[in-house]
């Protein structure tokens, strides 16, 4: 039932990218994001394209699977591209057929934005495809750790995120089960007017909410029984280790950034 829900899932492989420290991955992604928007012409983005291509190749994610998951994103990017193509009025006129006028500046501008978005989406989804949710959570927690001093509850946020990640598959399974149970009782979720369809969701949402509350209550009890009280004496099981290869990857990212900077117009 949730066959198409593949984006954001972790695909286990033994690649260099998979083995990277999550902090390194997050920092690299962040840096890359900034330099992408500094690169202001297609030629400047070439190192970026190369960088993403190599990273993708290294990560060993099956291309067909990846392409399937990106279908929606590609549509959005295409729409953005078309909008920019018609809205920008800069430079020489390229095409002029009656009401349709395309400027040279519009073409470069639209391509630039499309390429940027595309690279960004690929790299960002690669982060979730190659990093286990728990590593990602840990990475975020340590990166945001310093913000604890100004009152950001980094630990609580990370724990909440980790519990949410733990329960998403369980809740999806639960949803599927309830959908099937109601279908078996003759319910229909895909017929009739919008109001009718919204109403049809009640037999699904009520049981789901009730189960979720029950789960939350049980989980809170189990956590309490296991000594969780949110105190600061808590130690951490996972210690992230920054490896030499992480430094190397970071250097490569910075280098790519520098090249983009040099090539910008």
């Amino acid at each position: 039932m949730f066959d198409n829900l593949i984006i954001g899932q972790y695909v286990p492989r033994e690649s260099v990218i998979h083995r990277m420290d999550p902090r390194a991955k997050l920092v690299c992604l962040f840096l890359f994001m900034i330099v992408l928007f500094i690169g202001n012409r297609i030629i400047a983005l070439l190192p970026g394209i190369l960088f993403v291509a190599v990273a993708f190749w290294l990560a060993q994610i099956p291309l067909r699977f990846f392409a399937k998951g990106l279908r929606l994103i590609v549509i959005i990017i295409t729409i953005t591209f078309i909008l920019h193509l018609f809205m920008t009025r800069e430079g020489n006129v390229l095409v002029d057929i009656g009401w349709l006028t395309i400027y040279e500046g519009a073409l470069t501008q639209a391509s630039l934005i499309a390429v940027r978005l595309f690279l960004l989406v690929i790299l960002a989804s690669m982060l979730t495809l190659t990093t286990t949710p728990i590593d990602l959570t840990d990475g975020l927690e340590t990166l945001f750790g310093p913000l604890k001093k100004i009152g950001v509850p980094a630990h609580e946020l990370a724990l909440t995120m980790s519990i949410a990640l733990r329960f998403i598959p369980t809740l999806l399974g639960e949803t599927e089960k309830i959908v099937k149970a109601q279908l078996a009782r003759g319910a229909s979720f895909s017929e009739g007017s919008l109001v009718k369809r919204a109403k049809a969701l009640i037999p699904l949402l009520v049981p789901l909410l009730i189960q979720s509350f029950k789960r939350a209550e049980d989980l809170a009890t189990a956590m309490e029984a296991r000594g969780y009280d949110g105190s600061s004496e808590r130690t951490k099981y996972r210690e992230l280790t920054w490896k030499r290869s992480d430094t190397f990857m970071l250097m490569v990212t910075i280098l790519t950034g520098v090249m983009i900077l040099i090539l910008r117009g």
Binding site: D3, P62, K68, K180, A181, R185, G186, P207
Partner: protein, 292 residues
Amino acid sequence: MHIKAQDLGYTYMKNTPFEKKALDGVNLEIKEGSRVAIVGHTGSGKSTLVQHMNGLLIPSEGSLTAGEMEIRPGTKQKTLSKLRQRVGMVFQFPEHQLFDETVEKDVAFGPMNFGLTREEACGRGRDALRKVGLHDESLYKKSPFELSGGQMRRVAIAGVLASEPEMLILDEPTAGLDPEGRVKMMELFSGWQKESEARSYVLVTHHMEDAATYADYIFVMHQGTVVLEGSPEVVFSHEERLQQWGLGVPKTTKLLIELSKKANTPINVASFSVEDTAKEIVRLLKGDKRDV
């Protein structure tokens, strides 16, 4: 209802790295009016199989015929409403499907979906509630969530029976119940089935005792296909093969097999009640040389 599966195959999440073949070349036939059990280890495909019987899943390969309806790859979900009325389904922990304000309304949900008016549906709902042993009418106006766990499960089952199906698919209906509750629940389904000659049920279970007691015919599933079928006597005489598939035999049979080995005497191990087992032991002690 007559059910027939021919070379039935089903694949979950096709064309993704998570693709998984759940059923492969399943062939089986269930006659009208029969009591059938499907047993198999977790992940053997038994739940996937039964969800084809009321059209919740559409085969990826092969076909499934239910009554006069044939379902093949490409059959549209919309055409299956009629089938779902005739084949009711009780899931594991059915109480999780309750949602409406009152017990009465919840039970009427199914029949109303199948086109009955509210009055008719409520009438059938009341009959079904009495059938599952909820006679106290003051309960009917209560919210289902105010009831005890056991009562909630009964209401959910009444909600399935209210559509007056000819066939019930019971997917682990006794999960989480204590031994007494299990017997009561199974007696309820057994009683329902006996009411009419056309009625049948398919019981999916991990409890070999239930399969032996409440089914006349058993299918054993392993890795997405039927590997053994027959009467309980036949199926449970293959203890070693069952063990290879991660399954056991009823407690009574297990004890008699052990006894047979230790005493080095052949015993008829196909006794599924405490009483018959005791008789068999007495026979052994008296040294009866009965044919086995």
